[in-house]
């Protein structure tokens, strides 16, 4: 085997690997390394504000503390997180698809209107949080309209309504993402099957259900995966609006991790919670990715 032949074979086999290598190294440094550090920290009792040399190895004590009762708010936070993610993702998705379909029906001007939908997306989350915190005050913007139309005023800062208020604010911020993506996807759908269905007398609902939505399925799944990950990681708006309160009404996992790690100064337990959150996101997303693969296979 000549050297020339060997190099040709080698480059054919490993050339793609070489191309991927820089990205792979970057990912390993930026993702895998912090993850390993978190894993290591989770096995130590380390008080926030002290040096690493003062940290004490405690084995699985932090895991025991989090999962078996020491962290009395963990299961409550987990439950709240799941409710919050479902409300936020489903709410944004339904609003997104509804408005995208409406815009698609417009004969003209859809592009201009979509430009307005970008505004909530480009606003800084901290500003969104502050703005909605003011809107939801008892004499604020939301209650003003509720009083005019329904004659009621709600204490949005009470334990019963805080999570709803938070969900509304986050849906307002995230729904435009769905609108833009779905609107672009609807515009890209080939018109032939729709026209054929219209000639055959199919109703709008049938066209939507049997043609448009199946064609949108891959994009729906990808956006749902992205939004689910984002929803699990939500921190800025919830933190600015309620800081996890009142009581434990909005203490979702991201807020709880912050509280345990930085207010209670238990970095080890905070790492356990962070790893658990990553694990949870992976589980939820692997289910959606499986669905996506099946769609592509189909």
């Amino acid at each position: 085997m000549s050297l020339k032949f060997f190099l040709k074979k080698f480059s054919k086999k490993y050339y793609p690997v070489l191309l991927i290598l820089p990205s792979l190294i970057t990912v390993l440094i930026l993702v895998a390394y912090p993850l390993l550090i978190s894993l290591q920290t989770s096995l130590y009792e380390w008080t926030y504000g002290t040096s690493w040399s003062q940290a004490k190895y405690v084995g699985l004590k932090n895991y025991y503390w989090v999962f078996f009762g020491g962290d009395y708010l963990f299961y409550n936070s987990l439950q709240l997180t799941i409710i919050f993610v479902i409300i936020q993702v489903l709410g944004s998705f339904i609003i997104g698809i509804f408005f995208a379909l409406l815009l698609d029906k417009l004969p003209r001007g859809g592009e201009i209107i979509t430009a307005f939908f970008i505004i909530p997306m480009v606003m800084m989350p901290s500003v969104v949080g502050l703005m909605w915190r003011l809107y939801f005050t008892y004499d604020g913007f939301v209650n003003y309209f509720l009083e005019i139309f329904f004659g009621i005023k709600i204490n949005w800062f009470s334990i019963n309504y805080a999570l709803i208020a938070l969900s509304i604010a986050t849906i307002w911020m995230t729904a435009p993402f769905f609108i833009l993506v779905f609107y672009a996807a609807l515009k890209a759908i080939p018109q032939e099957p729709i026209e054929a269905a219209q000639i055959d007398g199919a109703s709008e609902w049938i066209i939507l259900k049997d043609i448009k939505l199946p064609m949108l399925k891959p994009i729906i799944l990808i956006t749902l995966i992205m939004r689910t990950i984002e929803a699990f990681r939500s921190f800025d708006v919830p933190y600015i609006m309620f800081g996890g309160g009142p009581g434990s009404a909005t203490e979702i996992l991201a807020i709880h991790i912050n509280r345990v790690a930085f207010s209670f100064r238990q970095l080890g337990a905070g790492s356990v919670l962070s790893l658990f959150l990553i694990f949870l996101i992976i589980i939820m997303c692997s289910f959606l990715i499986k669905q996506l693969r099946e769609t592509w296979r189909f």
């Binding site: 926030y48 504000g49 002290t50 040096s51 020491g70 009395y72 708010l73 005050t137 008892y138 005023k153 204490n155 949005w156 800062f157 009470s158 334990i159 805080a162 933190y239 309620f242 800081g243 996890g244 309160g245 009142p246 009581g247 434990s248 009404a249 912050n258 509280r259 930085f262 207010s263 209670f264 100064r265």
Partner: protein, 454 residues
């Protein structure tokens, strides 16, 4: 003839000498400032300028009325010393979470930072801030016009740990009661002297008129609920921790009763009180929605500012009421401290800025621009309607119960203890937990924290 020439030449020489002296005599030009200061100030500033002109100092601050007042004092400092001052202002609610992360690093990007009573013991024991006693003793760096002895001792003490001073207090706060004197006169009521009277008055005024509520007090989960509750705990005879045995005392009947009382009091607040931070509690009173405000004395200047407050001129102030066990009033507040990780070569410049911002010389300008008092001289002038109430509360802060209250903050775990207590107090306020259950949980959690220190 010869004599006349001699005299003329002599006169000309003298005139030339005078002119040369006038034009070429080395002189110190006073820099342009917004206010004219005594000569010794310019002399002090000249020495600083020689060493540090062109230096930039960065301050980690919180959004607070005193920060705005400091910003008014800064341009003159910059003109006098040639030092540039850069303010980085954080929201109060998240300040310590962020600053803790920054100051524990090897290189701290801030030359100066805000600290407060609650964190000084912890920061001092971890050596995150440096003691300033040497700077204070240096007469050249700390001139007479700084007026250290004019600072209220109760406020200076909260910046101390293990006998050393770790900062200069600039926004001293005690808790007091502001009440709507017009409403009290209308319904023929007297301001509260005891906890019981406070609760009765809150009940009385709650929804007495349309849009009127009884009381406003901070209850937010971050650390503010704990701040409000501890103000009542010691007056009930309760305590958070027995400092001699380092055991938590949250389940003592007095402590539980104080939480029950506090939770009951919040029921007579405006809707949303369960999430009220200082700004919201303050604003509810300023907009005339509540009859009584139980708050930090830092709220007072804003209440009397007609540009910010609808109730300015219609408010009376009294010291914090007495509990069943006696008077107890906490003393808290902000201070300026030097982070240990900050560049060492700039420390004298940093100290000069501390001296400038917190001096007796500038105190009137500082207060006129919304700064919060930590000095005796302005309070003794009694220029403001709230000065007497502040002095009375400061006197109450010397009581044994008050001293015990303040010692709770000297524990090395005070930062995390406040976080835990605040979270559980918030859950008691919302009704998620009964006061008994909240106290039980506090006891368990704080017991875990205290174990390693026994």
């Amino acid at each position: 003839m010869k004599k006349r020439v001699f005299i003329s030449v002599g006169v000309i020489i003298v005139i030339i000498a005078i002119l040369i002296t006038y034009f070429f005599w080395p002189r110190f030009e006073k820099p342009k400032t917004e206010v004219q200061y005594p000569n010794e100030v310019y002399e002090w500033a000249r020495k600083i300028k020689e060493k540090y002109s062109g230096t930039t100092l960065t301050i980690a601050a919180v959004a607070h009325p005193s920060t705005e007042a400091f910003k008014v004092l800064t341009p003159d400092f910059e003109s006098l010393t040639g030092i540039k001052v850069k303010w980085v202002v954080y929201e109060e609610i998240s300040y310590f979470d962020k600053i803790m992360l920054i100051v524990t690093g090897e290189e701290v990007p801030y030359d100066l930072m805000y600290t407060c009573a609650e964190i000084i013991p912890g920061f001092a024991s971890q050596e995150l801030v440096i003691p300033i006693d040497d700077y204070l003793a240096n007469k050249e760096l700390t001139p007479e016009w700084f007026g250290f002895n004019d600072l209220i001792p109760a406020y200076v003490n909260y910046m101390k740990a293990a006998g050393k001073l770790y900062g200069i207090p600039f926004a001293g706060e005690t808790i007091f009661v502001a009440y709507r004197s017009d409403l009290f006169a209308k319904y023929n009521k007297e301001p509260p002297k005891t906890y019981e009277e406070l609760l009765e008055l809150a009940k009385f005024f709650h929804k007495r008129e349309e849009g009127l509520y009884g009381v406003s007090i901070r209850c937010a989960k971050s650390w503010e609920a704990a701040w409000s509750w501890i103000s009542f705990t010691y007056g009930f005879g309760g305590k958070w921790v027995d400092l001699e045995t380092l055991t938590p005392k949250f389940t003592s009947p007095e402590t539980i009763n104080s939480l029950k009382y506090f939770v009951e009091l919040t029921k007579y607040g405006p809707p949303g009180i369960e999430a009220f931070s200082f700004e919201e509690a303050w604003s509810a009173f300023q907009t005339g929605k509540v009859a009584i405000l139980v708050e930090s004395t830092a709220a007072a200047p804003g209440i009397e500012d007609p540009k910010k407050s609808l109730v300015a001129g219609k408010v009376g102030y009294v010291k914090f009421p007495k509990g069943p066990a006696g008077e107890a009033a906490g003393v808290w507040g902000w201070g300026l401290s030097i982070p240990k990780g900050a560049p060492k070569e700039k420390r004298e410049a940093v100290w000069s800025l501390i001296v400038w911002l917190t001096s007796e010389l500038n105190v009137d300008r500082y207060l006129e621009n919304g700064g919060i008092v930590t000095r005796l001289s302005p309070l003794k002038k009694m220029k403001n309607p709230y000065d007497k109430a502040i002095l009375d509360t400061l006197e109450a802060a010397n009581s044994p119960l008050s001293q015990e209250l303040l010692k709770a903050y000297t524990l090395p775990i005070s930062f995390e203890m406040t976080g835990i207590v605040s979270e559980l107090t918030s859950r008691a306020i919302t009704g998620e937990l009964t006061p008994e259950a909240a106290c039980e949980q506090m006891n368990t959690s704080i017991e875990e924290l205290l174990k390693p220190y026994r």
